[in-house]
Symmetry: none
DNA sequence: GAGATATGAATGAACG
DNA sequence: CGTTCATTCATATCTC
């Protein structure tokens, strides 16, 4: 790509502003740049960039690289904004649901999806802790996230930090997960469960709960109490 | 500057506020965002961002840009904090620098990063996640259980509702349990964990935490999503 | 309600 | 060019 970076570190103007790590265009400079950009010169060639820089220097220290970056970012963000507008308009064509006016905002809002169509296995790879391919799908498939409508018999609780829609009344934890689970309220108290693995008292709307695999904390206790001394 | 504040329409929320100039995420939204972030998705691609936005909308008006900015800031500030900690740790060598009060950390020897592949063998139970076959093995084989080093200063926290003694300082969750775990404070917020699965900030005496197997709540979602047509 | 802090938003500066 | 990082600006929130 074009260099344009030659003098990357450029910090003149020590006379007025304390050390600034990056160029801060003066209002006059921005005015000039915007004017040029809006006049149609959105990607000035190198020599033109130099000319512009010299012009800008009348209002403050600036390097060619700064001008180059400015136009580059200006183009990028302008285009991005355009795309967002387009997207929101397209979405408007689909009267398939409620949609708010999310007025797009400038900046970096588009990325390329590294997404492999197939998120493959859920089993983690050796790496351990990085990323959950199916996470968002799960969120999405969740009824609470799929339907805007709120059923009178349903309510929202947070399970392990995740907003979840559950029905009111007893919850059959064992049937849901096969057993060996304990449900804790965020206060640290376990939610009482009967011998059949059913939470008789149900949960409370808006509250936060934690689903814990018994073996998990059992092991933790073993480790801790024994201390392996 | 143009709007760019996506959420300029304050739809009928509970309490109407006098026009905010910027988005103020609801506690539920923060909880969701933190959960996603701590689950490893620290830089969701665009389409994921859109999904997340739709999810968040259940709890208040929000735009894609807000979500994007949130993750960008979260990443940035998390990284910065990490660097700060690192810097303050290495600053111990410099007799001439400012030194912070490392209330917790000198015990940095209590965790040794296991070789990727040696102690952790996750990702092999590729099948459905009915039960966690490899879990117990992980627990049993984990060396941490056999060499519980004595930490000079211990404190009591509640882990999954059980009073537990733990050493002060960073906690190597991954080495302890083989990974795929997230630690939540009882407030519902996940405890920040670095890329190596270590809780840098340690835990706080007397507080209540929840150890959650990631697949666990993933499964919860799967189960719960049944019926989402 | 001024100052300190947390954090949403914006943007210069790169990177790939 | 699209994306990402680092820094800065602006404002919401909190405290005394």
């Amino acid at each position: 790509m074009e260099d344009a970076t030659g003098s990357r570190q450029q910090q003149g103007e020590a006379a007025e502003q304390p050390v600034r790590s990056r160029w801060t265009p003066k209002p006059e400079q921005i005015l000039i740049l915007e004017t040029i950009f809006n006049s149609g010169m959105v990607n000035p060639p190198k020599d033109e960039t130099v000319r512009i820089r010299k012009l800008l220097e009348k209002f403050g220290s600036v390097a060619d690289a700064n001008v180059f970056y400015w136009f580059q970012n200006r183009r990028s963000r302008s285009r991005r904004r355009q795309r967002q507008v387009q997207a929101s308009l397209t979405a408007a064509d689909h009267p398939s649901g409620i949609h708010y006016d999310h007025t797009f905002s400038p900046n970096s809002l588009s990325y390329t999806m590294p997404n492999p169509g197939s998120s493959s296995s859920f089993g983690h790879n050796s790496g351990g802790f990085s990323g959950y391919p199916g996470l968002m799908q799960e969120f999405e498939q969740n009824p609470v996230f799929c339907e805007a409508e709120v059923q009178s018999q349903m309510m929202t609780v947070f399970v392990n930090g995740v907003a979840t829609e559950v029905g009111r009344g007893p919850v059959d934890v064992k049937a849901m997960f096969g057993g060996d689970l304990v449900v804790y309220h965020s206060s640290g108290l376990a939610v009482e469960m009967n011998e059949y693995g059913i939470l008789m008292q149900g949960l409370q709307h808006g509250e936060s709960y934690f689903l814990v695999i018994i073996l998990c904390w059992l092991m933790f206790l073993v480790v801790d109490s024994v201390g392996c001394a």
